[in-house]
Subunit: 160 residues, 2 copies
Protein backbone atom coordinates (compact mmCIF):
# COMPACT_ATOMS: atom_id res chain seq x y z
CA UNK A 1 0.00 0.00 0.00
CA UNK A 2 1.30 3.39 -1.03
CA UNK A 3 1.74 5.66 1.99
CA UNK A 4 0.12 9.05 2.18
CA UNK A 5 3.54 10.58 1.83
CA UNK A 6 3.90 9.18 -1.68
CA UNK A 7 0.30 9.95 -2.56
CA UNK A 8 0.68 13.58 -1.50
CA UNK A 9 4.06 13.78 -3.18
CA UNK A 10 2.61 12.57 -6.47
CA UNK A 11 -0.23 15.04 -6.28
CA UNK A 12 2.23 17.83 -5.61
CA UNK A 13 4.39 16.79 -8.55
CA UNK A 14 1.37 16.75 -10.83
CA UNK A 15 0.53 20.21 -9.59
CA UNK A 16 4.07 21.40 -10.28
CA UNK A 17 3.93 19.89 -13.75
CA UNK A 18 1.01 22.22 -14.37
CA UNK A 19 2.72 25.53 -13.70
CA UNK A 20 4.34 27.35 -16.59
CA UNK A 21 8.04 26.47 -16.92
CA UNK A 22 10.24 28.93 -15.06
CA UNK A 23 7.55 29.88 -12.59
CA UNK A 24 7.19 28.57 -9.05
CA UNK A 25 4.32 27.31 -6.92
CA UNK A 26 3.90 28.01 -3.21
CA UNK A 27 3.68 25.15 -0.76
CA UNK A 28 0.64 26.83 0.78
CA UNK A 29 -1.10 26.91 -2.61
CA UNK A 30 -0.27 23.32 -3.48
CA UNK A 31 -1.49 22.23 -0.06
CA UNK A 32 -4.74 24.18 -0.34
CA UNK A 33 -5.49 23.09 -3.92
CA UNK A 34 -4.98 19.44 -3.13
CA UNK A 35 -6.15 19.37 0.46
CA UNK A 36 -2.81 18.21 1.80
CA UNK A 37 -1.70 19.02 5.38
CA UNK A 38 0.73 21.87 4.81
CA UNK A 39 3.43 20.86 7.24
CA UNK A 40 3.48 17.33 5.93
CA UNK A 41 3.82 18.64 2.39
CA UNK A 42 6.69 20.81 3.60
CA UNK A 43 8.60 17.72 4.65
CA UNK A 44 7.66 15.81 1.50
CA UNK A 45 8.85 18.55 -0.84
CA UNK A 46 12.01 18.74 1.24
CA UNK A 47 12.69 15.09 0.50
CA UNK A 48 11.94 15.56 -3.17
CA UNK A 49 14.39 18.45 -3.22
CA UNK A 50 17.11 16.35 -1.57
CA UNK A 51 16.40 13.66 -4.13
CA UNK A 52 16.89 16.17 -6.93
CA UNK A 53 13.35 16.17 -8.34
CA UNK A 54 12.51 19.78 -7.53
CA UNK A 55 14.26 23.05 -6.82
CA UNK A 56 13.22 25.51 -4.17
CA UNK A 57 13.59 29.24 -3.74
CA UNK A 58 13.03 31.17 -0.54
CA UNK A 59 11.66 34.63 0.09
CA UNK A 60 9.08 36.63 -1.78
CA UNK A 61 8.37 35.19 -5.21
CA UNK A 62 9.88 31.93 -4.04
CA UNK A 63 8.40 28.46 -4.01
CA UNK A 64 9.00 25.14 -5.76
CA UNK A 65 9.55 24.14 -9.37
CA UNK A 66 10.40 20.92 -11.18
CA UNK A 67 14.10 20.28 -11.68
CA UNK A 68 13.52 18.71 -15.10
CA UNK A 69 10.73 18.74 -17.69
CA UNK A 70 7.86 16.47 -16.62
CA UNK A 71 8.35 14.21 -19.62
CA UNK A 72 11.74 13.19 -18.22
CA UNK A 73 10.54 12.32 -14.75
CA UNK A 74 9.34 8.77 -14.20
CA UNK A 75 6.46 8.16 -11.85
CA UNK A 76 8.20 5.08 -10.47
CA UNK A 77 11.19 7.11 -9.38
CA UNK A 78 9.05 9.59 -7.52
CA UNK A 79 7.45 6.74 -5.62
CA UNK A 80 10.86 5.19 -4.93
CA UNK A 81 12.17 8.45 -3.51
CA UNK A 82 9.27 8.71 -1.07
CA UNK A 83 8.20 5.17 -0.24
CA UNK A 84 11.28 3.17 -1.11
CA UNK A 85 11.42 0.23 -3.53
CA UNK A 86 8.43 -0.63 -5.71
CA UNK A 87 8.77 -4.33 -4.98
CA UNK A 88 6.19 -5.59 -2.49
CA UNK A 89 9.05 -7.18 -0.58
CA UNK A 90 12.68 -6.13 -0.30
CA UNK A 91 14.18 -9.39 -1.51
CA UNK A 92 12.33 -8.85 -4.80
CA UNK A 93 13.68 -5.37 -5.35
CA UNK A 94 16.15 -4.68 -8.14
CA UNK A 95 17.10 -1.20 -7.05
CA UNK A 96 17.45 -1.74 -3.30
CA UNK A 97 17.71 -5.49 -2.89
CA UNK A 98 18.10 -6.78 0.65
CA UNK A 99 18.25 -10.37 1.71
CA UNK A 100 15.48 -11.87 3.85
CA UNK A 101 16.85 -13.03 7.19
CA UNK A 102 14.09 -15.58 7.53
CA UNK A 103 14.54 -17.38 4.21
CA UNK A 104 17.35 -19.89 3.90
CA UNK A 105 17.26 -20.42 0.14
CA UNK A 106 16.27 -17.18 -1.54
CA UNK A 107 16.47 -18.61 -5.04
CA UNK A 108 13.73 -21.15 -4.27
CA UNK A 109 11.53 -19.04 -2.03
CA UNK A 110 8.03 -19.23 -3.48
CA UNK A 111 7.00 -15.94 -1.93
CA UNK A 112 9.94 -14.12 -3.42
CA UNK A 113 9.44 -15.64 -6.87
CA UNK A 114 5.82 -14.55 -6.99
CA UNK A 115 6.64 -11.10 -5.71
CA UNK A 116 9.35 -10.76 -8.32
CA UNK A 117 6.67 -11.10 -10.95
CA UNK A 118 4.50 -8.60 -9.12
CA UNK A 119 7.40 -6.16 -8.95
CA UNK A 120 7.93 -6.56 -12.67
CA UNK A 121 4.28 -5.79 -13.32
CA UNK A 122 4.27 -2.72 -11.11
CA UNK A 123 7.51 -1.38 -12.55
CA UNK A 124 6.18 -1.94 -16.05
CA UNK A 125 3.37 0.46 -15.30
CA UNK A 126 5.06 3.01 -13.08
CA UNK A 127 8.44 3.23 -14.81
CA UNK A 128 6.93 3.56 -18.26
CA UNK A 129 4.69 6.41 -17.24
CA UNK A 130 6.19 9.88 -17.13
CA UNK A 131 4.93 12.64 -14.92
CA UNK A 132 3.68 14.37 -18.04
CA UNK A 133 1.70 11.30 -19.09
CA UNK A 134 0.25 10.92 -15.61
CA UNK A 135 -0.90 14.51 -15.64
CA UNK A 136 -2.38 13.90 -19.07
CA UNK A 137 -4.55 11.12 -17.66
CA UNK A 138 -6.29 13.54 -15.37
CA UNK A 139 -6.75 16.08 -18.15
CA UNK A 140 -8.40 13.80 -20.68
CA UNK A 141 -12.13 13.98 -20.94
CA UNK A 142 -13.06 10.83 -19.10
CA UNK A 143 -9.91 8.93 -18.48
CA UNK A 144 -10.48 6.48 -21.28
CA UNK A 145 -8.35 8.09 -23.94
CA UNK A 146 -4.76 7.01 -23.71
CA UNK A 147 -1.93 9.10 -24.95
CA UNK A 148 1.05 7.79 -26.79
CA UNK A 149 4.70 8.67 -26.77
CA UNK A 150 6.15 11.58 -24.90
CA UNK A 151 5.06 14.23 -27.30
CA UNK A 152 1.79 15.64 -26.07
CA UNK A 153 -0.95 17.24 -25.38
CA UNK A 154 -2.87 20.10 -24.16
CA UNK A 155 -0.85 22.56 -22.19
CA UNK A 156 -3.45 25.10 -21.28
CA UNK A 157 -5.22 25.56 -18.02
CA UNK A 158 -4.24 25.57 -14.46
CA UNK A 159 -6.84 26.06 -11.87
CA UNK A 160 -6.97 29.48 -10.37
Amino acid sequence: MLTKKAKYGLKAMVHLAGVRPGETALVADIAASNQIPKKFLDAILGELRNAGFVHSKKGKGGGYMLARPPSEIGVGNIVRALDGPLAPIQCASKTVYRRCDDCTDETRCAVRLVMLRAREAIAEVLDKTSLEQMRGLGESGDGVRLLVGGGVVRQAMDMA
Copy 2:
Protein backbone atom coordinates in the same frame (compact mmCIF):
# COMPACT_ATOMS: atom_id res chain seq x y z
CA MET B 1 4.95 -2.69 0.47
CA LEU B 2 3.66 -6.01 1.70
CA THR B 3 3.68 -6.19 5.50
CA LYS B 4 5.45 -8.96 7.35
CA LYS B 5 2.05 -10.28 8.33
CA ALA B 6 1.23 -11.07 4.72
CA LYS B 7 4.71 -12.34 4.01
CA TYR B 8 4.59 -14.75 6.95
CA GLY B 9 1.04 -15.72 6.08
CA LEU B 10 2.03 -16.63 2.55
CA LYS B 11 4.97 -18.67 3.74
CA ALA B 12 2.71 -20.51 6.14
CA MET B 13 0.18 -21.21 3.41
CA VAL B 14 2.90 -22.57 1.14
CA HIS B 15 4.01 -24.77 4.00
CA LEU B 16 0.45 -26.01 4.52
CA ALA B 17 0.13 -26.71 0.81
CA GLY B 18 3.04 -29.08 1.25
CA VAL B 19 1.53 -31.41 3.83
CA ARG B 20 -0.35 -34.46 2.66
CA PRO B 21 -4.09 -33.77 2.31
CA GLY B 22 -5.95 -34.71 5.47
CA GLU B 23 -2.95 -34.20 7.71
CA THR B 24 -2.22 -31.16 9.86
CA ALA B 25 0.82 -29.03 10.58
CA LEU B 26 1.72 -27.57 13.97
CA VAL B 27 2.13 -23.83 14.37
CA ALA B 28 5.39 -24.47 16.20
CA ASP B 29 6.69 -26.50 13.24
CA ILE B 30 5.64 -23.96 10.64
CA ALA B 31 7.22 -21.21 12.69
CA ALA B 32 10.47 -23.11 13.15
CA SER B 33 10.73 -24.23 9.52
CA ASN B 34 10.20 -20.72 8.19
CA GLN B 35 11.82 -18.72 10.97
CA ILE B 36 8.63 -16.87 11.83
CA PRO B 37 7.98 -15.51 15.37
CA LYS B 38 5.61 -18.09 16.77
CA LYS B 39 3.18 -15.78 18.54
CA PHE B 40 2.87 -13.58 15.48
CA LEU B 41 2.15 -16.63 13.36
CA ASP B 42 -0.48 -17.65 15.91
CA ALA B 43 -2.33 -14.41 15.26
CA ILE B 44 -1.88 -14.65 11.49
CA LEU B 45 -3.26 -18.17 11.27
CA GLY B 46 -6.12 -17.03 13.46
CA GLU B 47 -7.03 -14.41 10.89
CA LEU B 48 -6.70 -16.88 8.04
CA ARG B 49 -9.03 -19.21 9.92
CA ASN B 50 -11.60 -16.44 10.41
CA ALA B 51 -11.31 -15.67 6.71
CA GLY B 52 -12.03 -19.31 5.88
CA PHE B 53 -8.72 -20.24 4.30
CA VAL B 54 -7.65 -22.80 6.87
CA HIS B 55 -9.19 -25.07 9.48
CA SER B 56 -7.76 -25.68 12.91
CA LYS B 57 -7.93 -28.53 15.37
CA LYS B 58 -6.96 -28.38 19.02
CA GLY B 59 -5.41 -30.94 21.29
CA LYS B 60 -2.97 -33.73 20.59
CA GLY B 61 -2.64 -34.45 16.89
CA GLY B 62 -4.18 -31.09 16.17
CA GLY B 63 -2.84 -28.24 14.08
CA TYR B 64 -3.76 -26.42 10.90
CA MET B 65 -4.77 -27.55 7.44
CA LEU B 66 -5.96 -25.87 4.27
CA ALA B 67 -9.71 -25.48 3.94
CA ARG B 68 -9.60 -26.13 0.19
CA PRO B 69 -7.15 -27.69 -2.24
CA PRO B 70 -4.25 -25.33 -2.99
CA SER B 71 -5.19 -25.13 -6.65
CA GLU B 72 -8.42 -23.37 -5.66
CA ILE B 73 -6.83 -20.75 -3.45
CA GLY B 74 -5.71 -17.55 -5.13
CA VAL B 75 -2.61 -15.84 -3.87
CA GLY B 76 -4.27 -12.44 -4.26
CA ASN B 77 -7.03 -13.41 -1.88
CA ILE B 78 -4.60 -14.49 0.80
CA VAL B 79 -2.88 -11.13 0.57
CA ARG B 80 -6.23 -9.33 0.66
CA ALA B 81 -7.24 -11.18 3.81
CA LEU B 82 -4.06 -10.14 5.60
CA ASP B 83 -3.02 -6.79 4.19
CA GLY B 84 -6.25 -5.48 2.72
CA PRO B 85 -6.80 -4.42 -0.88
CA LEU B 86 -4.12 -5.05 -3.50
CA ALA B 87 -4.50 -1.57 -4.94
CA PRO B 88 -1.70 0.77 -3.91
CA ILE B 89 -4.35 3.27 -2.90
CA GLN B 90 -7.88 2.68 -1.62
CA CYS B 91 -9.64 4.77 -4.25
CA ALA B 92 -8.17 2.42 -6.88
CA SER B 93 -9.47 -0.75 -5.22
CA LYS B 94 -12.22 -2.78 -6.82
CA THR B 95 -12.92 -5.02 -3.86
CA VAL B 96 -12.82 -2.47 -1.04
CA TYR B 97 -13.17 0.88 -2.77
CA ARG B 98 -13.17 3.92 -0.55
CA ARG B 99 -13.32 7.51 -1.66
CA CYS B 100 -10.40 9.86 -1.09
CA ASP B 101 -11.40 12.74 1.17
CA ASP B 102 -8.72 14.93 -0.33
CA CYS B 103 -9.62 14.59 -4.00
CA THR B 104 -12.54 16.58 -5.33
CA ASP B 105 -12.92 14.91 -8.72
CA GLU B 106 -12.04 11.24 -8.39
CA THR B 107 -12.70 10.48 -12.03
CA ARG B 108 -10.00 12.89 -13.16
CA CYS B 109 -7.45 12.36 -10.42
CA ALA B 110 -4.16 11.58 -12.14
CA VAL B 111 -2.82 9.69 -9.14
CA ARG B 112 -5.86 7.45 -9.00
CA LEU B 113 -5.83 6.76 -12.73
CA VAL B 114 -2.21 5.67 -12.66
CA MET B 115 -2.72 3.55 -9.56
CA LEU B 116 -5.74 1.94 -11.18
CA ARG B 117 -3.40 0.63 -13.86
CA ALA B 118 -0.94 -0.51 -11.23
CA ARG B 119 -3.70 -2.33 -9.38
CA GLU B 120 -4.69 -4.04 -12.59
CA ALA B 121 -1.12 -5.20 -13.15
CA ILE B 122 -0.73 -6.50 -9.61
CA ALA B 123 -4.08 -8.30 -9.65
CA GLU B 124 -3.21 -9.85 -13.00
CA VAL B 125 -0.22 -11.52 -11.39
CA LEU B 126 -1.56 -12.33 -7.95
CA ASP B 127 -5.10 -13.34 -8.84
CA LYS B 128 -4.00 -15.60 -11.66
CA THR B 129 -1.55 -17.48 -9.50
CA SER B 130 -2.90 -20.23 -7.27
CA LEU B 131 -1.28 -21.33 -4.07
CA GLU B 132 -0.34 -24.55 -5.82
CA GLN B 133 1.39 -22.68 -8.61
CA MET B 134 3.21 -20.47 -6.16
CA ARG B 135 4.50 -23.48 -4.32
CA GLY B 136 5.55 -24.95 -7.64
CA LEU B 137 7.77 -21.94 -8.29
CA GLY B 138 9.84 -22.76 -5.25
CA GLU B 139 10.10 -26.41 -6.14
CA SER B 140 11.41 -25.98 -9.66
CA GLY B 141 15.12 -26.38 -10.22
CA ASP B 142 15.99 -22.91 -11.40
CA GLY B 143 12.77 -21.12 -12.08
CA VAL B 144 12.57 -21.93 -15.77
CA ARG B 145 11.02 -25.36 -15.66
CA LEU B 146 8.20 -25.76 -13.27
CA LEU B 147 6.20 -28.81 -12.50
CA VAL B 148 3.31 -29.00 -10.17
CA GLY B 149 2.62 -32.10 -8.18
CA GLY B 150 -0.54 -33.95 -9.10
CA GLY B 151 -1.95 -32.62 -12.34
CA VAL B 152 1.13 -31.52 -14.15
CA VAL B 153 1.04 -28.02 -15.43
CA ARG B 154 3.74 -26.60 -17.59
CA GLN B 155 4.06 -22.92 -17.44
CA ALA B 156 6.49 -20.72 -19.27
CA MET B 157 8.14 -18.13 -17.16
CA ASP B 158 8.90 -14.97 -19.03
CA MET B 159 11.48 -12.66 -17.55
CA ALA B 160 13.91 -13.73 -14.85
